[in-house]
Symmetry: C2
């Protein structure tokens, strides 16, 4: 099982997300991340799907995706030269002054932003490739992660 990145343009209609994700789950493929949002055309959404799959069976899935009525285009971005980014928001426990200072220092040195400062927590946001996001999460983890949300990868082909 390897990791693949698919970019799927779909009509912005109800049910398309369920049908697309159903194609993967029917084969026991785990979707590592999925992001679906608007494109330049309000009628069209783009899904970026990272999936662990067997290459041969994934080829079948791609063919079936192309046959779905609301699917406009399927691009396999795996191994392409990509502009790939993720976004993370991470709320860290920061009950004492020493920890607060250390957490803000980590944000500064990694280029992350402080999104919110509360009485008991500090919330950090960061955008970057998967490696950069993972590194930030590992630096912050020892302070205690209260909550965290990641978008999953979005990507376009580099020109």
């Amino acid at each position: 099982m390897a990791k693949f990145v698919l970019s799927v343009l779909v009509e912005n209609k109800f049910g398309v997300l369920a049908r697309v994700s159903g194609l993967f789950s029917a084969r026991g493929f785990n979707i590592s991340s999925l992001a679906v949002g608007e494109t330049e055309d309000p009628e069209v959404s783009r899904m970026t799907i990272v999936v662990e799959a067997d290459a041969k069976i994934l080829d079948q899935v791609k063919k079936q995706l192309n046959k779905l009525i609301d699917v406009i285009k399927v691009q396999d971005l795996t191994g392409e030269d990509l502009i790939a980014r993720e976004l993370v928001i991470i709320k860290i426990s920061a009950a004492n002054t020493k920890n607060r200072e250390s957490i803000i220092k980590i944000a500064e040195t990694t280029g992350a932003d402080v999104a919110d400062v509360g009485k008991k927590t500090i919330t950090i946001e960061e955008t970057g490739d998967e490696h950069k996001i993972n590194a930030l999460v590992e630096l912050l983890r020892p302070y205690g992660v209260v909550e965290m949300v990641r978008t999953g990868k979005v990507a376009l082909q580099s020109e």
Copy 2:
């Protein structure tokens, strides 16, 4: 129909995305955006779902979500004080020098980053709330959007 923001913690297992999105599509609710990615626990993913729905029927959907075997927690973040962000990558046509300069100027003044410069295109990335992202897209649209991908909203409650 109003817009709602749900944050759903799920077991990171195949099929859960299809089951969750199926609950919405079965009622004809359109998912405006959905982002699913890892959390602090590798066994658990967090979905952030923006959905246009009828409030009364959405309550039923939330109850049914809570009953799904791989759903750990459902939070309705609608109307809460949120740290909400989206990420966009947008590839703009930039065939002539004048346009190239204007596009880079827009990136500078809005705080967006230039992610890639090609012979015919410039790719810009930006993180912010929906309003900020929409404003950037409108500024860049006149130059010609070649491709665009958005993550959809991710959000955590502010402390």
